[in-house]
Every structure is written in structure tokens, then in C-alpha cells.
Symmetry: C2
């Protein structure tokens, strides 16, 4: 693929991913304000942006089989754990930015767990097996991720059991 087309498709993938994310965040806010049909509009259009992002991703030949896909997840999570978030968190601390310190700390703690879960998934898929955990629990405040059931209190942010979402 020609370089400029590749660059633009990568930018388009980033733009679609951020638009999708923004609309999901706005849908929650509309819902809270009692605007159900507006929330539905945001969710529907978020899905359209997912379709666009997927088309760009496929055109970039970035979609592989399950093994390749998991490897790409491990690489991303490992970069975040070893490079990105430690720098972002330290910078927020250095600059006295409290909210950024918290949001980067929350992310860093969860990505460590994600990297391990994806490594476990890769070992299973390498043997032709599906993942093992039946249920996964995510803290809706900080993103803490566990297979051990929702804890009474989130070990990362202190949120209560009711803040956990079951998958």
C-alpha cells in the first residue's frame, strides 16, 4: 500500500475510534439526563463509526486470525505498562495534575492485568482451546479487571461491589 494512503487510513482509524468513544460517553450522559432517544442516537451513530473503523482496519490488513490478534493485544498492553503509562503518570505527578495522576494510575493498574490475561488466552488458543473464564468483572470507575467475582471493594479505586459490570 502507498505510504500516504496508509497514513490517511491510520489517521481515519484513529478518528473513527475516538468519535465512537465520544459518542458512547455522550450516550451515558444523555441517558442520565433522561434523554433516551438522544442516547439511542449517540449509540446508533457510535456503531456506524465502528463499521467505518473496521473497514479501515481491514483495508490496512491489520485483521489477523485469533492468534495474531491476541499477539497484537499483548504488544499494545505491554507498551502501555512498560513505556506509556509510567511516563504519563510521572509527568502528571511532576506537574501537580491530580486528576491526570489518578486517571493514568487507574489505567496502568488495569493494563498489567490485561497483558497477563491476553498471555493466558494466547497459550490456550495455541492449543486450539477457547479462553477459560466464564465471567469477567470490570470496575466501572477505574477499569480494574478480575475473573474472581466482583470484590466487596475495588482494590484499585475503592469502589463498592455494585460498581462492577459482569461480562
Amino acid at each position: 500500500m502507498r505510504d500516504m494512503t496508509k497514513k490517511f487510513l491510520e489517521d481515519a482509524f484513529a478518528g473513527e475510534s475516538m468519535a465512537h468513544m465520544k459518542y458512547l460517553i455522550f450516550a451515558d450522559e444523555a441517558e442520565k439526563a433522561g434523554f433516551k432517544k438522544l442516547a439511542n442516537l449517540f449509540k446508533a451513530i457510535a456503531y456506524a463509526e465502528f463499521v467505518h473503523a473496521r473497514n479501515h482496519f481491514k483495508a490496512l490488513k491489520k485483521l489477523g486470525d485469533n492468534q495474531q490478534n491476541i499477539q497484537s493485544c499483548i504488544a499494545g498492553e505491554t507498551f502501555e505498562v512498560e513505556e506509556m503509562y509510567p511516563v504519563y503518570k510521572e509527568t502528571a505527578k511532576l506537574q501537580g495534575e491530580k486528576e491526570a495522576q489518578i486517571s493514568t494510575h487507574y489505567a496502568l493498574e488495569a493494563e498489567k492485568i490485561h497483558a497477563e490475561m491476553y498471555k493466558k488466552a494466547l497459550n490456550l488458543v495455541n492449543e486450539g482451546k477457547d479462553y477459560e473464564a466464564e465471567k469477567i468483572y470490570i470496575c466501572s470507575v477505574c477499569g480494574y479487571t478480575t475473573e474472581e467475582g466482583a470484590p466487596e471493594k475495588c482494590p484499585v479505586c475503592g469502589a463498592s461491589k455494585s460498581a462492577f459490570v459482569e461480562f
Copy 2:
């Protein structure tokens, strides 16, 4: 907010949005391959990345009320329609990149509709009213968006009625 912290939070929002998107795409592939628990893992972790992205977005003070949120959507969609996608599509054509021509064409056509829908939503919310459409239909192939029910054939990509997702 200090500039470097702001820059890093913006980068973190982009990174989390792309990770979220990648995991949703991979979840679909795992599902198709019959790996249900792996698909569930991808979806659960995608939600954790949503939580991280939302925390960064809030720390950046980018979350407003419904009116401000819709204005931000109109600005984004208008940029894509008037600036970004025409350039990306023309570049793909110039460079003979067929798949990129198609994926940018599909996106451009849908963003035009999104911009109009958000403008309609803003007028309603300005009067204190919820959005009007009860149901919204999205083509899962190209992202074409309509409130008029799923058409027999997608006017943008030609996909059949069964390719439409109802919201």
C-alpha cells in the same frame, strides 16, 4: 492544565479509543471462529478501555452538557465531511488504492447524514426536547444510517436488508 499533561492525556484518550475499537473488532472474529469465551474476554477488556478513555476525557474537561456534547459532534462530523474524507478519498483514487477508496467513500457518505442528524438533535435539545426518531438503522457493511426503516438494498453499498442493525 499544564501542556505536557494535556498532550499525554489526549494521546492516552486516542490510545484507549483505538484499543477499545481493536478489541471489539477482534471479539467479532473470535465469535465467528466459535471462540465464545475469547470473544467475551475481548468485549470485557474493551469495556475497561472505555472506562479509561472516559476518565481521561473527563480529566481533559471535554465532557459538557447535552448541548455542548452535540455541538462537539457536529464539529467533528462537519470536519470529516468538508475536509478529511474528501482528501483521503481523492488520495486513495490518485494512488490507485481500491480498498481505501471504498472505505473512505462509505465513511464520507454516512458522515453527511450524521452531521444532519446531530443538527436536528441540537435544535430539539435547545427547546428542551428529546430526539424524535424511535428507531435508527445502520448498515453493518458501510455504516449508512437512516431513520426510515431498513431499506431492501443499502443505497450506498448495495447490502441487503438483513445487513441492517436496528437501534
